[in-house]
């Protein structure tokens, strides 16, 4: 067990990098910070790979994978049983996440050396990247739910900082604010969930919570609130936290806006790592959810399914390439959630769980690739919009190839990795819930369609009037592209069902042709449709858009969800809650206090006539006072 003590370094190196580059970065040449960050990240990456290697392949696991805690210390003690520990927990999903995070993060670090070159605040960018990576790593290796919450919040802040990296741009500021507040709202759910869970079970510890057949829920069954059991409340609320980070409907609205951040950031945070934190959270709590709160699991499944469909539909109509990718991310996250929602526990039953993790892994690779590719495109044409692009395949060959690979992967074309993971999800859904399966099946087609719509309109079609000829990105940017492309292609062959499973025991599974074949077909159909519509410049999409009229406009405007949120925040919270409260406070409460003073003063002026200066009035008061006292006292005595 102690053999893994070095794993503490994996998160600590980025932390140190953050502190160093953050505090001293402005004194150095920018590139120094960049290189330092990248080297640090590379070290972490290597360490993660070593960890993964020794954990997964360093011994036989007939008994299933052990949970290893190489490091743990008490950070804050609430009561004897409730305390926040900070530690490192190694189990299949966390080790997998370590690999995902460090890999993508390292690639992004590397990529950014080129992408962000010359940007003001280069050092700051690397500092924030390091901070984010540290937080994300801390999150996945959390030994208890509160540690997870801590890093959860840190992740949120680093995301805020990175989305708002171009802080002089009002839209970036607004987007970062929105992202933070929406996720913060979800985090509230998470927090309350934790509170309920800890109240019911008396522990934060994952080990105790997820231990099969544990007795800590013994007393919980009888507890309920408003007719719903305490654990369902807890798990639903915790899921809300996860839904916020993973941008599940209806908390998805921050993610598309988050594309205001630099593209590498989108790749790292808003595609590959942070947004899957919600999925990871659900996976982490899976035994609890599955056994103690089946209702919550149902909710997770449906929310995931709906989100994936909803986002895919919107993605069709968007023109900003990063937004298309953002909605695609949403859609894919929906897949993962859904998979968890339909999963059982143990062995083959836990296929959904395994598929979800698998898809998480592959998605991280190909979505990061897509984003980095998009970054490369944007870098070349200085625009985010499809209508400013076309025919780029000639100018950006490497980008083109890697992007195509990524598109194929996400469309689920075998034998690329996306095919395997998506296939497992569909199988799991089919076993569990036909409706969800149907939805996912449809979404598979939509995914292929909108991805290739993007692909064709960017790389094919005719040239636009570029200010200067687009050129391929420097090596620092293309190496990560190539690496990720390779990963996207081959990740599908990883034996996930032996490595990452719900009960940590490997199981055997096989290709389900009955599901795989139709899904491949519908994917190809989607590609074909896109090819027809967007390969060449044509008026057909325009016409279609007009025919669908309202529906198209609604979709284009993301079903007006931003407007609804705006209404709620601006109108209701600002105008109808905060403003009246501010008014109430100033005028009623403070007015009352001031009023006391004013009334006192008023009285003071009213009664000044008593002191009239007339001696005889005084005499009258004197005698009358005496008599009044005498009357009352004598009366009192008699």
């Amino acid at each position: 067990m102690t053999g893994y003590a070095y794993t503490i370094l994996i998160p600590m190196i980025p932390l140190v990098m953050f502190l160093v580059t953050g505090l001293l970065g402005m004194k150095w040449k920018p590139i120094v910070s960049g290189l330092l960050g990248t080297i640090g990240m590379g070290t972490s990456w290597v360490l993660s790979l070593i960890t993964a290697g020794s954990y997964f392949f360093g011994g036989h696991h007939a008994e299933g994978f052990q949970t290893i805690i190489p490091f743990e210390t008490t950070w804050l003690r609430f009561t004897e049983t409730l305390h926040i520990n900070i530690g490192v927990l190694l189990d299949p999903i966390s080790v997998m996440m370590l690999v995902v995070i460090t890999t993508i993060s390292f690639m992004v670090h590397l990529y950014s050396l080129g992408y962000m070159k010359g940007e003001k605040g280069f050092a700051r960018f690397y500092a924030f990247l390091s901070l984010f990576t540290f937080s994300m790593l801390g999150l996945v290796i959390a030994t208890n739910i509160f540690q997870m919450y801590i890093f959860w919040e840190l992740v949120g802040v680093s995301s805020f900082l990175l989305i708002g990296f171009y802080y002089t741009k009002p839209s970036a500021v607004a987007a970062s604010k929105k992202a933070f507040i929406v996720t913060r709202f979800a985090d509230l759910g998470f927090l309350i969930g934790i509170l309920i869970l800890s109240f019911v079970t008396g522990t934060f510890d994952f080990g105790k919570l997820t231990e099969p057949g544990t007795a800590i829920f013994g007393s919980a069954a009888s507890m309920s609130f408003m007719g719903i059991s305490a654990l369902t409340w807890a798990m639903t609320l915790i899921f809300i936290g996860g839904a916020g980070k993973s941008a599940m409907f209806p908390l998805h609205i921050w993610l598309p806006d988050a594309m205001e951040g630099p593209t590498p950031v989108s790749a790292l945070i808003h595609a590959a790592t942070m947004v899957v934190a919600g999925v990871f959270l659900v996976a982490r709590m899976f035994p609890v959810i599955h056994f103690q709160a089946p209702d919550a699991q149902e909710i997770i499944g449906y929310v995931g399914g709906f989100t994936s469909l909803f986002a895919a539909v919107i993605a069709i109509t968007q023109y900003d390439i990063k937004r298309v990718l953002a909605f695609s991310t949403l859609s894919q996250l929906g897949y993962m959630m859904l998979a968890l929602g339909v999963s059982g526990y143990g062995g083959e039953e836990g296929l959904g769980y395994m598929a979800s993790m698998f898809h998480l892994f592959t998605h991280a690779m190909f979505k990061a690739l897509l984003f980095l590719g998009a970054g490369s495109i944007i870098h070349a044409v200085h625009s985010n919009y499809m209508y400013d692009m076309g025919g780029l395949r000639k100018y950006l060959p490497i980008t083109h190839i890697t992007f195509l690979i990524a598109c194929l992967t996400i469309a689920g074309v075998p034998p690329l990795s996306g095919f395997f993971s998506k296939d497992e999800i569909l199988v799991a859904a089919l076993h569990h819930n036909k409706l969800l399966f149907a939805v996912e099946f449809l979404v598979a087609g939509l995914t292929a369609f909108y991805m290739f719509r993007l692909y064709f309109s960017v790389f094919w079609g005719k040239d636009r009037h570029y200010h200067h000829t687009p050129h391929e990105s420097p090596l620092t940017m293309s190496i990560p592209l190539m690496f990720l492309a390779v990963a996207s292609v081959f990740a599908g062959f990883l034996p996930f069902h032996h490595l990452v499973t719900s009960d940590k025991m490997g199981f055997d599974t096989e290709m389900h042709m009955a599901v795989a074949a139709p899904s491949v077909l519908i994917g190809l159909f989607g590609i074909a449709m896109a090819w027809i519509l967007y390969k060449k410049e044509s008026a057909v999409p325009e016409k279609l858009a007009q025919r669908w009229g309202i529906l198209y406009t609604a979709t284009y405007n993301k079903f007006y969800f931003d407007e609804i949120y705006l209404f709620v925040t601006k109108k209701i919270i600002f105008n109808y809650i905060s403003r009246p409260i501010a008014w109430f406070d100033r005028h009623i409460i403070d007015g009352f206090m001031v009023g006391i003073g004013l009334v006192t003063e008023k009285i003071a002026y009213q009664i000044k006539g008593m002191q009239s200066g007339q001696l005889q009035h005084y005499a009258f008061m004197f005698v009358a006072g005496t008599l009044a006292l005498a009357l009352s006292l004598v009366y009192f005595l008699m």
Binding site: S612, G613, Q614, L615, Q616, F620
Partner: protein, 105 residues
């Protein structure tokens, strides 16, 4: 002690006199008249003391002497008051109390 006259009758006379004095103090405008009202008040108090002494406690002369000293003090008071009234008269050329209201509120 006077045969046939109850103590209360004396007291009623003195009380009424007292309150006539008080009333006079309140209603008269002239400072000197107010001073006279004061004399009425003190006089009624004197009667009280003397009568109580005579009727109830004739074994000593406390009330008697008290009255005696009140008379003396009344004289002193009157002299100072009159000096002040004349002082006011020098300033205001009249001794109407309603004009003595520079200090107020």
């Amino acid at each position: 002690m006077i045969q046939g006259i109850p103590l209360e009758h004396f007291l009623i006379v003195s009380t009424i006199m007292f309150f006539i004095g008080v009333c006079g103090f309140i209603i008269r405008r002239n400072l000197i008249t107010m001073l006279m009202a004061i004399e009425l008040i003190l006089n009624s108090v004197n009667i009280n003391f003397v009568v109580f002494n005579r009727y109830l406690y004739p074994d000593q002369l406390q009330g008697h002497f008290f009255s005696l000293f009140i008379v003396g003090i009344a004289a002193a008071e009157a002299s100072v008051a009159i000096a002040l009234i004349i002082n006011i008269y020098r300033k205001l050329q009249n001794i109407d109390v309603e004009n003595v209201n520079e200090l107020r509120f």
